[in-house]
């Protein structure tokens, strides 16, 4: 008996401890400044919100792998993912998620790349930052002076006169021969400089170009526009070059990042876009939390009014269930979506299900004339099969939904699955230990009232 009571006390303490962790980690998260990196165990375990709650952009790309050997598709896709991840990281998006979706039989063998960008609500700039490859090339002076100025029609429909395009001619040297780019600052002026290091082939090309153009200018073009036109003083070997183009430090940093991230190994095409504005996400989160709270309180009220003492115990068990679930959401971490919150709220109802089955059994035993103590023991034993059986179909559904679902469905299925499993454990262990702890030996009118339900006491029904 003493052992049961100590266990019950330990469970209560543990529940309180977990609750404290959930609460503290939320406080700790709020204390961290918006752009600072959270430090410490507590601050690094916030709830992970899905795009529909946090606001953000969800992009689906189709990769064109038609020209790639079937055995190399996997490698190309993962290097594509890496390149895009690097590009996104330059922009400082917090916790982006970039996943390769394998071509399965359900999507006609298409290779897809799914990009989730929390907090990014400007779709156009997001698409631009992923799709753009910086084109870096080196051009030399056009020997034909006063070549006619070329006019081209730009993207925006305006006619552009590009004086440089005719003054300079392309060389073989492009960003493809780049080994890496480094951000530096001029020692005297403090100006940002992008230092380039070419690979072996590029170094040779660069040496050749500089050698042939001593005294002339060599233009460095980025995305078709000249950013720096230095004059060559001597042939440069070793493959080091510098771009000093009146950069702002942030611009230079961006350029370095983009140059380093390289070109996309596989052509991609955007096939699906989804953006959720921050106000919509915040409203959905608030409504979800409100619904969860009200749902919990209503269930607790129902349990206590209808099931009295066992109902009260079930409410305590349900509270422990709630904090345990919240802690699991934080620790795994489970990405919470509106559907996931719905799954959690439904699981509250289901978590009680097992308790109700057990209480009804206990009542039946009481009606059969057993003492309260015996009824509790037998009630648990006989209810277990029903509890188990009635949850298995939900588990089957949740597993299949998780396995096959899209991100949205997965969010629901995972929460639902964890909910059903945790509720099983909580009903058979926590509720049982609490009920046994009470160790009610007497069986009289009052105990029958406590274990009764609805308008009747346990004994009066026949």
């Amino acid at each position: 008996m003493l052992k049961t009571r100590i266990t019950a006390l330990l469970i209560l303490l543990l529940g309180a401890g977990i609750g404290f962790f959930v609460y503290k980690s939320e406080i700790a998260k709020m204390a961290v400044a918006k752009d600072a990196t959270p430090k410490g165990f507590l601050a690094t375990h916030p709830f992970k919100l899905g795009l529909d709650l946090s606001g953000g952009t969800h992009l689906v790309y189709r990769a064109d792998v038609s020209e790639i050997d079937a055995t190399e598709i996997g490698d190309s896709m993962s290097s594509l993912r890496d390149v895009i991840e690097r590009r996104i990281n330059i922009f400082g998006v917090s916790e982006p998620s970039i996943q390769v979706q394998d071509g399965g039989f359900s999507n006609q063998g298409e290779q897809r790349l799914i990009v989730d960008l929390p907090g990014v609500t400007d779709v156009s700039s997001a698409i631009a930052m992923i799709g753009e490859t910086p084109m870096l090339d080196f051009r030399t002076e056009n020997p034909i002076k006063d070549a006619p100025v070329e006019a081209t029609v730009g993207k925006d429909g305006n006619v552009v006169f590009d004086p440089y395009a005719s003054q300079y001619i392309k060389t073989e040297l492009t960003g493809r021969y780049l080994d890496k780019a480094i951000l530096e600052f001029d020692q005297t002026t403090g100006e940002a400089i992008v230092a380039l290091q070419f690979d072996e082939e590029g170094s040779a090309l660069f040496e050749k170009i500089t050698k042939e153009n001593v005294g002339k200018s060599v233009a460095i073009f980025l995305d078709g526009a000249p950013i720096s036109i230095p004059t060559v003083n001597e042939a440069i070997s070793g493959g080091k070059a510098q771009i000093s183009g009146n950069f702002k430090a942030t611009e230079a940093k961006l350029l370095v990042g983009r140059l380093n991230s390289g070109a996309l190994p596989v052509a991609i095409e955007l096939i699906s876009t989804q953006t959720i504005g921050p106000s919509l996400g915040t409203a959905a989160t608030a409504a979800g939390v409100k619904a969860a709270l009200i749902g919990f309180l209503a269930i607790a009220l129902f349990l206590i009014i209808w099931y009295r003492l066992p109902g009260l115990i079930a409410t305590v068990a349900l509270s422990i269930y709630v904090v345990a679930m919240l802690a699991i959401f934080k620790l795994v971490p489970v990405t919470l979506t509106a559907a996931g919150i719905a799954g959690f709220i439904i699981s509250l109802g289901i978590a009680v299900d097992a308790n109700v089955l057990i209480f009804e059994r206990i009542k039946e035993e009481l009606r059969g004339g057993s003492t309260v103590g015996d009824s509790m023991h037998h009630g648990f034993k006989r209810a277990w099969l029903s509890v188990r059986d009635s949850n298995i179909s939900s588990i089957i559904t949740a597993i299949i939904l998780y396995w096959f679902g899209t991100t949205l469905i997965k969010g629901f299925a995972l929460v639902f699955l964890i909910g059903v499993l945790v509720s099983l454990i909580s009903a058979i262990s926590i509720t049982r230990i609490f009920l046994y702890t009470l160790n009610i030996k007497k069986t009289n009118g009052f105990t029958n009232f406590l274990f009764g339900s609805g308008l009747s006491s346990a004994k009066s029904q026949k």
Binding site: V60, I271, S272, L280, I350, S393, S394, F412
Partner: protein, 294 residues
């Protein structure tokens, strides 16, 4: 137990509800949303007063983004539906709407993504159904008298179909009057109802099975009737807790899951109803038919 006494009435009510639902589904139809068809949806909210719908319609026309469906949402917003659009077309639409239109959400789904989702939904539906049928067969493998075990399974599946068709019928009616469309959450709702509603039927059948084994009651009718008596309170109580949670979601939850929660509420309600008022009376009816044939 009155349920067994009036079993034909209850079975008839269920049949009527199913027929009504099928009628609603075929009459109103199920509007497929852009999740399945592909297409785009822009939701904007104006900071001040929103312009007339006809003005927006006229200004969108020159963009040539195909047929556009404009619906007012809330007090200051519009939702605009069109075929799936490119990033440039999206920008054009926003610029046409004016600078005080704040974009709340944007969704553009290519037809191949929609097709994939449709295919995935069908596969999941088949797998969940198969999984549950196998589970039912497994649960009832040991019962054979007086009704053989496969009949329990068959009846459980019939009540499952009943539990699915009615919420879908409810959805068809809602969809007709409010314009909601079949989306991913609809599929999740249907599959979740599959899982939840069968569990109640299993609990009821479980009790019948246990009472048959104990052999306390003389006739099969009485066994089923008494079993229902025993599980009645708990069936109502467990469903109530889930329905309470779902109603909290319907009334206070996020807009995006309201219809989802409403469908689940209907599924939960009819799932409980069917396990008590449909599955068990049918069990007795089947047994009656067996007897009269002998």
């Amino acid at each position: 137990m009155f349920i067994i006494k009036y079993k034909k009435i209850f079975v008839s009510i269920s049949i009527a509800l199913v027929v009504l639902s099928i009628g609603a589904i075929s009459f109103f139809g199920l509007n497929m949303g852009i999740d399945f068809k592909g297409g785009s949806l822009v939701e904007v909210e104006y900071t001040n007063v929103r312009p007339e719908q006809s003005i927006i319609e006229a200004s969108l026309k020159p963009l040539a983004v195909g047929q556009v469906l404009i619906q007012p949402i809330g007090e200051k917003g519009y939702s605009i539906k069109a075929r799936d659009i490119t990033d440039k077309e999206h920008k054009d639409i926003l610029s046409v709407l004016g600078t005080d239109a704040v974009e709340k959400s944007f969704n553009s789904i290519g037809p191949s993504v929609g097709k994939e989702l449709a295919r995935k939904s069908i596969i999941s539906f088949i797998l969940v159904s198969l999984g549950i049928i196998f589970w039912i067969a497994f649960s009832f493998r040991k019962v054979s008298k007086p009704v053989s075990s496969w009949k329990y399974g068959f009846i459980a599946i019939i009540s499952l179909v009943h539990d699915i068709i009615i919420p879908v019928g409810v959805f068809a009616v809602m969809s007709h009057f409010s314009g909601v469309e079949v989306d991913t959450l609809f599929v999740v709702a249907v599959l979740t109802i599959l899982g939840l509603s069968v569990s109640d039927t299993i609990v009821v059948f479980d009790r019948i099975r246990e009472n048959i084994r104990m052999g306390q009651f003389k006739t099969f009718d009485e066994t089923v009737g008494r079993s229902l008596n025993q599980v009645f309170a708990r069936s109502i109580a467990t469903s109530s807790t889930v329905i309470i949670a779902l109603l909290a979601l319907v009334f206070f939850g996020p807009t995006s899951t309201k219809i989802f929660a409403l469908m689940l509420t209907a599924g939960m309600f009819f799932g409980t109803y069917s396990s008590i008022f449909l599955a068990s009376p049918m069990l007795v009816l089947v047994q009656d038919m067996q007897k009269s044939r002998k």
